[in-house]
Every structure is written in structure tokens, then in C-alpha cells.
Symmetry: C2
Subunit: 351 residues, 2 copies
């Protein structure tokens, strides 16, 4: 199996196919998948307590608006903690661009390691996400224009974390407890930057699956697709070749009279909408998000998936019963990402 590879901060990436250009296909961050109502509230009550911290809106200016505050949510678990009197460590998760409960419920590593270190666990929600919305908690106001939305920046988020950690340690009389920060994907970038910018607050950072060097003139803009391609190719050369050739086949078919109807039937697309580019985008999302969550166990992070889902996708492609029918092979792929539960009767490309 290829190295597990997951990052979510798509805004960084110019997405280009390794074969025909699908540069027009730019999957957004799957925020629509993060639905608070989907969060496991049963698990939640055992995993953490929910708290709020009165946070400064602007850490770097002294303008009148800067004096405003907002309620920042954080989650806390002290069941493993050795306590302040023993200077037991504090593990802090740097919240990503989403509801912090979603990340917390998918961050097994901190819960698994906490007992060994007798660590206190803190998960801080990123400003402008989940329940940590400035301007009165009203998302419509906070996101309305740049005069409010302009306070959403990674620098401000890092300062939030610094402020909250310092205050929390004081309140717990744990000023001598070492702090280690953790993060994945964009949150991993925050963790790494936090260690650089606030070395007096944290003794170490773990940045998991984090594109910390993915900046112009440092890393190739094609690296994201290259790694995804490598993931599939590492499963089988045929898997890679079928996917690579499929983009042209889809476009050729779409350009034939009645071709879009054939594609609709091949992929069981609901009767609302189809085009070559939307179909390609839909498949591209399935490949990339599956590679991003190519975990060795069944999981439900971006979507419900079996263990080793990339391997499963390549099995569908390499399946001898589908012969040379590329569309039948890709339909099998799509079913793994979009229909692991088996309940879908047709697919909506605009989902």
C-alpha cells in the first residue's frame, strides 16, 4: 500500500491531471461533509468536555474593533492527566478549518498516546469555524464581507491558540507543564508554525500529513496529483493505466451523439444533470479523497470507506469480470467512495 497521504487544504493546490487537462476541476474543501448533526454525540460525552474561552478578535492592532472578543470553543479531556503538581504534559490539538468535534473524533493518536504520558488533552476550535464564530456567533455576519471576514487568518489563529494555552495553564496552576502541539493537514501547518513562532509556549510539535513546504517556488504545483497518482500506481500498473486513459475516453464518449446518456447509464447518474467535466470532477474527487484517507482500517472521515480503500479501488479496476469496459470499472471505483453503505440507487454529480 502506498504511503497514507492526507491533506485537506485544497486552496493551496493547482490541480492538474497527469494526463489530459482537468485543470478546470478544482474540488473544494469537503466542508459540506462536516455536518455537526452527523457527529457522534454518544462518543462525545465520553471523549471530552466542551468549554468556551473569551478570545481577542485582533491580536495585532489597537483599533477600536480590535477590542472586541468572541467565544472560542475548546474540548478538554483530563482523564489521563497526571496533574499540574506532577508537571504532567499538555497535548494541544490545533484546530483545522472545520468543526473541532469532527477532528477530535477522528484524532485517535492523541487519545492513544495520552495514557503513556499522562497527558491532558485540549482541542481548540479554529476561529470562524464550528461554534467559534466572531461577531456574536452569527455566521452570516462573520462571513458577510472582508470587514468581518478579514479577521480569519492563520496568524490570528496561532495567536488565539497562544492566548488560550497561556490562560488555561494559569487557571490550572499548570504553568510548568510542558505543552506539545499536534495537528494534521492545515492544522499540522499551524502546529509547525506554532513551534516556530511561539517557542516559549510549546516544546514540540507534531505535524501530520501537513503540506508545510507546499508554497510557490518551493514545491512543484503538480506534487499533489503526482502523489495521488503514485498511490494508485503502487497498487497496480494496470490500475494506473486505466485511470490515466479514462479521461480521454469519457470526453470522447461525451462528444458522440447520445454519449452523455450512455455515460449517465454507465455511472447510474440521477436524472438531474450530467456533463463530461462534472463526471470527471466527481471521479477525481473519489480518487483524491480516497487516497487522502487511505487508512488501514474501515473509517468514516470524509466518507464511509473500507480498510485500504485505494487497494479496493484498484481491485475494482483490475477485476477480470469487467473485461475492457472502462466505465464499468470506474463505476466500481465510484461505488467504493460514494456508496460504501450500498444504499444509493443513483448518484448526484453536484453532491
Amino acid at each position: 500500500m502506498a504511503t497514507s497521504f492526507a491533506f485537506l487544504w485544497f486552496s493551496f493546490f493547482t490541480l492538474l491531471s497527469s494526463t489530459v487537462s482537468i485543470a478546470k476541476i478544482t474540488p473544494g474543501f469537503p466542508s459540506s461533509i462536516i455536518r455537526p448533526e452527523k457527529l457522534s454525540h454518544t462518543t462525545k460525552n465520553q471523549l471530552y468536555k466542551q468549554k468556551y474561552f473569551t478570545q481577542i478578535l485582533d491580536h495585532f492592532n489597537f483599533n477600536p474593533q480590535s477590542y472586541q472578543t468572541f467565544q472560542q470553543r475548546y474540548l478538554i479531556n483530563d482523564t489521563f492527566w497526571g496533574g499540574a503538581h506532577k508537571n504532567a504534559p499538555i497535548f494541544v490539538y490545533m484546530g483545522n478549518e472545520g468543526d473541532v468535534e469532527w477532528f477530535t473524533q477522528n484524532t485517535g493518536f492523541m487519545f492513544e498516546t495520552a495514557p503513556h504520558f499522562k497527558a491532558l488533552l485540549i482541542f481548540i476550535e479554529h476561529r470562524f469555524y464550528g461554534k467559534s464564530i466572531p461577531f456574536g456567533g452569527n455566521k452570516d455576519v462573520a462571513y458577510s464581507n472582508s470587514s468581518t471576514h478579514g479577521y480569519l487568518s492563520s496568524t490570528q489563529a496561532l495567536a488565539d491558540y497562544a492566548t488560550l494555552i497561556i490562560d488555561l495553564k494559569k487557571n490550572l496552576s499548570a504553568t510548568d507543564s510542558p505543552v506539545v502541539v499536534f495537528g494534521g493537514s492545515y492544522g499540522g501547518m499551524l502546529a509547525a508554525w506554532f513551534r516556530l513562532k511561539y517557542p516559549h509556549i510549546t516544546i514540540g510539535a507534531l505535524a501530520s500529513s501537513s503540506p508545510i513546504l507546499h508554497f510557490e517556488n518551493i514545491t512543484s504545483p503538480y506534487i499533489f496529483n503526482s502523489i495521488i497518482t503514485k498511490n494508485f500506481r503502487s497498487e497496480s500498473e494496470n490500475c494506473y493505466k486505466v485511470i490515466k486513459g479514462s479521461w480521454q475516453q469519457i470526453e470522447d464518449k461525451a462528444n458522440q451523439p447520445g454519449g452523455l446518456e450512455t455515460l449517465r447509464k454507465s455511472f447510474r447518474i440521477c436524472k438531474n444533470y450530467i456533463s463530461a467535466s462534472s463526471l470527471e470532477s466527481w471521479l477525481y474527487t473519489a480518487y483524491t479523497y480516497t487516497a487522502m484517507t487511505d487508512y488501514p482500517t474501515p473509517s468514516n472521515f470524509l466518507s464511509p470507506l473500507p480498510a485500504y480503500p485505494v487497494k479496493q479501488m484498484c481491485k475494482a479496476i483490475d477485476n477480470p469480470t469487467t473485461g475492457n469496459d472502462t466505465f464499468a470499472k470506474l463505476y466500481g471505483v465510484a461505488n467504493i467512495y460514494y456508496n460504501y453503505s450500498g444504499s444509493a440507487t443513483c448518484f448526484d454529480l453536484r453532491r
Copy 2:
């Protein structure tokens, strides 16, 4: 001679006398002394060229006002520079809270060391000072209220320096030239913080006479006065004792009928204003600013002074011809700081 000791960022200090309380006396930063018209323009033309950089008003937000820019002044001297092709270093002075020309003309160290390292010299002016005034360069507008003045912060100033240095290196094709930052007093704090916060931009920082640990719960609030006291005491025990006892003598005299007139005559105060506290403040300023600029050569930084001015003040106090006349002794002290040129016929306490 006591260790030379100079820092200017008075806003940090709770100033308390080591004897009777003169906490009410809080000498301000001597900005009134920094008059651009007093700057040596003859020297200037040999020392540096003056340039401007279009700087971002707000480095940390994306609010509409943040897109504004201002003209930031910097001074440059390339006469010693080994050049970009040799990766010769760049020495950058982190401008303090004043006209950058004033600091540049008093920063001999960088000019003295530059030839040895073949260094390029850059002196950057701090935002809101000198000619680097945001909001159209209009000081009245920039300082009018917190909606404009709120952009004056050390964090923003550090980001200014980072932005300017990166851009300058690119323009000089000197991206591989190592950068060392320098600063004195508050500017030294900026230099130290710059090394911490922008380790990818500078390989080292020299913070001279810089109160980098002068924060609540780290350093005693009495440290400033303790060091000043130590300076004078290291010259002579009698010098220290006379000054220590003088505050009570001034207040006792001021409370006697006609006492203020006696004090006025003793200190040759002009006929506009006198009070015990204003006289104490005036003397306190003389002691502290002299200790802050206790250089081994005649100088003219805050005021024209002889070499080793603290030693000169203690000589005036220990002078046997003044016998037990404390006021005559202190008048001698005041003359060293306020009248080194010898041209004053009387003193204005509100200067």
C-alpha cells in the same frame, strides 16, 4: 566607571526613587530632543542615501483598511559592501521610536564593523516616526485616534522590517546574503524579537542596552532606578548619599515660607514656574538621562555631554569648595546635563 547603561523605552517603567517617593515624576521619552532640523545634514550625505519603500499598513488582517500602504523610509550605505555575488552580509538596524537619522548618526558600531565584514548597511525607520507616517504622511491624521494610531505596534513594525528586508534582498539579487539585525534600547528588543520570530530572515541579532526581560513578573519594577543609583554609587559613596538625601531637603525647603524662591535662586530657574515636584523631576531627568548616555567620549545623543558624565556629576557633588551646600552641589550637576555648552543664563523646568 559603572557599566554604561542606556535605554529609552520609559513607558515600561514604574519610576520610584530609592529614597522618598518621587513616583509622581515620570520622565517621558525625550522625543522633544529629537528634532530633525538638528540632524547633521553634512554628515548625512556621506553616511547614507535615503530611500522609501511602499509598506503594507496591516500585515495580519484582510480588512479593507489593511490593503492601504504607506511610505516607509530607510537609509542605505553600500560603500563597504562586498556585493551580492560574494554573498557579503547585510547589517540591518531596527529603527527605534524616533527619526531614523538621529539613531543612524549615533550608531557608530555598525559603521565601524561594516568594513571588516564588507557589510551593506540598512537603517529602517519605525512606522509612525520620522518620515514614515501612515495615512498620507500626515502626523495629525495618523496620531488622531485609535482607528489610525492602532496600527502602531511592535508586531506590525517587525513585520514591516521582514517585508522590507525580503524585498530589498530580491531587488539587490542578494537573496543568499546573510542578514544580521542590530538595535539599541527598544530597537534592541525589536532585534531580539526579530531573530525569534523571523529566524528564516536573520541569522543573528545584536540587542544593545535592551530591556528584553523588563516585563511584569520577570524583572523588578524598581530595577531601572536601582541601576541608575548603582551607577552613581559606583563613583563615590558620598555622591550617592548626597543625592539620596537631597529629595527630602528640597521638599523641606519648598514647604518653608519663601523656600521656593530660595530654590529658584539656588538653581537659577527662570521666572516662569517652580514647584518641588517639577524641580525634582528636572533633576531626576538629569541623573537618569546622563546615566543612560554615560559614554567614555564627549557625545550629543540626548543632550551635549562631556566624556564620563556620571563621573563629572559626582565630581561636582564631591567638590570640596561647595562644602555642605547640597543645592549648590546639585546646581553643578544640573549644569552638566542642561548647560554643557555654558550658554544658558537660567533654566526652564518645563523644558
